[in-house]
Amino acid sequence: MRLSEHIYRTISSIRGPLLFVEKVFSARLGEVVNILFPDGRSMDGEVLKIDGDTVLIQVYGETRGLDIGNSSVVFTDTVKKAPLSIDIIGRVFNGSFLPVDDVPMFIPEKWASVTGFPMNPSARARPEEFIETGFSCIDGLNTLVKGQKLPIFSCAGLPSKELAAGILQNSRLAVGMGRFVVVFVALGLTFHDYSFYMNVLNEIRTGFVAFVNMADEPVVERLLSPRFGLTVAEYLAFERGMDVLVVITDMTNYCDVLREVSTAREELPGRRGYPGYMYSDLASIYERAGRVKGMSGSVTMIPIVTMPEDDITHPIPDLTGYITEGQIVLSRELHQKGIFPPVDVLPSLSRLMQRGIGECHTRGDHRKIANSLYKYYAKGRDLRRLEAIVGKDGMTDSDKHMLDFADIFEREFVNQGTARRDINETIDRGISILKRFSLEI
């Protein structure tokens, strides 16, 4: 603990969001600093690297107007912390944790480090409680469970936000009386999307907390907002026993900032210029989802990733897929056919589904129906390739039958518009389609 405040005017260089400060006496890694601009503004920053008495600082804000000589840096001797209280529910904050809903800041009950601590693997409880999202393609074939992290892989122009909104509005726990809260984190959101999401959030009865960084707001804040959101989520889940659903949109913007800072630091770039530590960095966000043994709350996460160039092997979706427990993949082709949600069930996957379905979670016949639907649809999709070569007329009746099944499956099972379907309806619908085509279940 330092007894006096340390103020330095020894900025030696400014490079985008980064500052070098020299002759610093005793800095800490991750220490929060306050940067005072010549015009009286002030901004937060964080110590990224220390080399002797030279300190590298990342500024959480626009560095325009900063100079060498007059600007000063105050070292605060603490790491970044988030204020927490139960009163946070219903509030909207910006990327610096300042309220933007015209209500004064709440009185914090406690403060917690925003990076959190890794959950002890032996303390994790196995996620197995079914969450009903109301969408057949998710509930039926890629079931979401409490404590899971299941990203939505979208492409530019696809209705990922309508799907996310649908999940926010319709999600329900099949069992459990606990309170359900949504933590919404927006990174680089356009105003158009912002007003859309705010309408949705305001309709959620159980409550929400939002962290919104707009598209024209400082980009470096995007590195912090998801961590604020998750710190709040962990607090609500593991200290207040609530079931928290965290929706983060859009992780692609997050990774781009990570790359921006990395290049400014002149680090060695990895694939496509993204830093080599992006896997660990993303994991430090995604892995905060989970359940803890002996506690009632849970953190479930739905990050939204827009795949650049629709490419699932791009580093952002690729590394995300390696960390998360499955993925929901949206397809441009289905969207063009007018199907909503345009979820392509073949590359989609929920790794924790096997534990969350069946007799005591959903229904005894769930697994069987899901497997059959998947199998026949995959067959039908395979045959579409053949159809492109030989034409439908050149195919056998049984092949045509499978092709028709794939079409009907897309139009009647996957496609549901904005209507909510409960799990019974989803499974029954699956059975009726299979029966109509007299397929073995």
């Binding site: 005793s26 480090s113 693997p121 770039p269 694939r271 896997y279």
Partner: protein, 536 residues
């Protein structure tokens, strides 16, 4: 020895402490974070820190321990769960709750638990380092305890002891401890290495039949995400025919580990009927735990594996995934500002990997027993692209390559092992074993199986142009049989009873399919239409 921190960059810290040796263990900062010296310079050293460095300040003290990173080896390792530094996760949980806040020294072994020691050497006996002097019962196994050094025994107990009590004394007054402390980066000694000659039965038909693994061998399976690496690793951990399994969750998901722990405590080992956890050691360093500890975790694990190998057991080390280890290496290397090789990985990636792989093998131990250490490691190539450096470096050293195929996984064919690209270098040396010990048909059936799959591939291309109905009857039959082979033989559902297939079952299944083909082909020649046969 106390020095001070001069600089901090990610997981590495530079200090002004002199007199350290390379790979010495150090304690850093007021929080006493564990670290290891990775570079020495004229006026100080660079240390990698195994815990989160956030909040660490310039000028904080650093203390050298004077010894490298070691693990304590002794009874009580089995069914244990450790982090990359060999700290017991259960004990960490007792001490600091559900989240790991760092800076805490917790021992891997339970120091209070009493073990019943039965000596195998008598008073007055001369023992050499590594020689077995007695054993304790640890779960289903005899846990042999060996002497750490040469000497003549003057006292040896026959009864209960706990780890921190000696089990005897030498004539020169030195105590004989009941545990062994070993630096993780140093392979444990053995008398000599033997070539692998026995198969490692995994219970996975595709592996055992087409690409057999050997006890003492190494295998990698690379695959993009969603190709079922983890499920396959876990299935092998459950069903492999070995005495002990060491499983490393290296930079992977926490929820998966929770699932695995729960399963392993309830499931039974199909070979002995005991609970699986009793033969398993888990080393867990999930992706959000510090990267330097991830780098150390595979060494911690293999040292424990070697320790049990030295008792004459068959040990299997499974790591999921080696790519995360390589990434940790890259992260540390880049914070040291080393000159990078391919894709930013350090140029010593391949040599580190081969050093690690060579710790596998069948050995005659110092005490004259035969033990084996096999390795099955998963690799997660970015974008599913096998030309990346980690996969390529592994390919040069691993004995078997099981390629997991994204398109098979999309068809929900699991395990998604591609039967054209994969290979096992042990196949030839194990052929005799399978012929003699399991069945004389084994190798012929395998040849038939390969032929059917290859023929199918060729016919598939034709079928895409002319359609299935356009093929000749014999070819259509082959397509039907190949499909049967893929669906009923090569794929195995990990969630049903079929998850484990002993060699006898594997053999009878393949025999059935090949016989079906032969019979049908014969009747086809007799003029019976294919349609009729398929209806049956």
């Amino acid at each position: 020895m106390i020095g001070h921190i001069k600089g901090i960059s990610g997981p590495t810290v530079s200090v002004d402490l002199k007199g350290l040796r390379l790979y010495d263990r150090v304690y850093v900062g007021h929080a006493m974070l564990a670290g290891e010296v990775i570079r020495l310079e004229q006026d100080g050293a660079v240390v990698q820190i195994y815990e989160n460095t956030k909040g660490l300040g310039i000028g904080e003290p650093i203390k050298g321990v004077g010894m490298p990173l070691t693990v304590k080896l002794g009874p009580g390792l089995l069914s244990g769960m450790f982090d990359g530094l060999h700290r017991s996760l259960e004990k960490l949980r007792e001490e600091m709750g559900s989240f790991i806040s760092g800076g805490r020294e917790v021992y891997g072994l339970d120091h209070l638990k009493k073990w019943r020691f039965s000596p195998l050497k008598e008073r007055g006996a001369d023992v050499k380092a590594g020689e077995i002097i007695g054993y304790v019962e640890e779960g289903p196994l005899k846990h042999f305890i060996s002497s750490g050094c040469d000497g003549r025994i003057s006292e040896i107990i026959d009864g209960e002891f706990s780890i921190n009590e000696p089990i005897g004394k030498f004539y020169d007054g030195r105590e004989i401890p009941g545990y062994n402390e070993w630096p993780v980066r140093m392979p444990r000694p053995y008398k000599r290495k033997l070539p692998p000659s026995e198969p490692l039965i995994t219970g996975q038909r595709c592996i055992d039949f087409l690409f057999p693994l050997a006890r003492g061998g190494t295998a990698i399976f690379p695959g993009g995400f969603g190709t079922g690496k983890t499920i396959l690793e876990q299935s092998i951990a459950k069903f492999a025919d070995v005495d002990i399994v060491v499983y490393v969750g290296c930079g992977e998901r926490g929820n998966e580990m929770a699932e695995m722990i729960e399963e392993f405590t309830t499931l039974k080992d199909p070979w002995t009927g005991k609970r699986l956890m009793e033969r398993t050691i888990l080393v867990v360093n999930t992706s959000n735990m510090p990267v330097a500890a991830r780098e150390a975790s595979i060494y911690t694990a293999i040292t424990m594996a070697e320790y049990y190998r030295d008792m004459g057991y068959h040990v299997l080390l499974l790591a999921d995934s080696l790519s995360r280890w390589a990434e940790a290496l890259r992260e540390i290397s880049s914070s040291l500002e080393e000159m990078p090789g391919e894709e930013g990985y350090p140029t010593y990636l391949a040599s580190r990997l081969s050093g690690f792989f060579e710790r596998a093998g069948v050995v005659e131990t110092v005490s004259g027993k035969i033990g084996s250490l096999s390795m099955i490691l998963s690799v997660s190539p970015p974008g599913g692209d096998f030309t990346e450096p980690v996969t390529q470096a592994c390919l040069r050293i691993a004995g078997a390559f099981l390629m997991l195929d994204t398109s098979l996984a999309h068809r929900r064919h699991f395990p998604a092992i591609n039967w054209f690209q994969s290979y096992s270098l042990y196949e030839r040396s194990l052929a005799d074993y399978f012929r003699e010990k399991i069945s004389h048909e084994w190798n012929d059936l395998k040849q038939r199986c390969r032929e059917i799959l290859q023929r199918e591939e060729a016919l598939r291309e034709v079928a895409e142009v002319v359609g299935f109905e356009g093929l000749q009857d014999a070819d259509r039959l082959l397509m039907v049989v190949a499909e049967k082979l893929r669906l009923e033989f090569l794929s195995q559902n990990a969630y049903t009873d079929d998850a484990f297939s002993p060699p006898e079952k594997t053999l009878s299944k393949i025999r059935e399919i090949v016989e079906f083909h032969d019979n049908a082909a014969k009747r086809l020649k007799e003029g019976i239409p294919l349609q009729e046969m398929l209806k049956m």
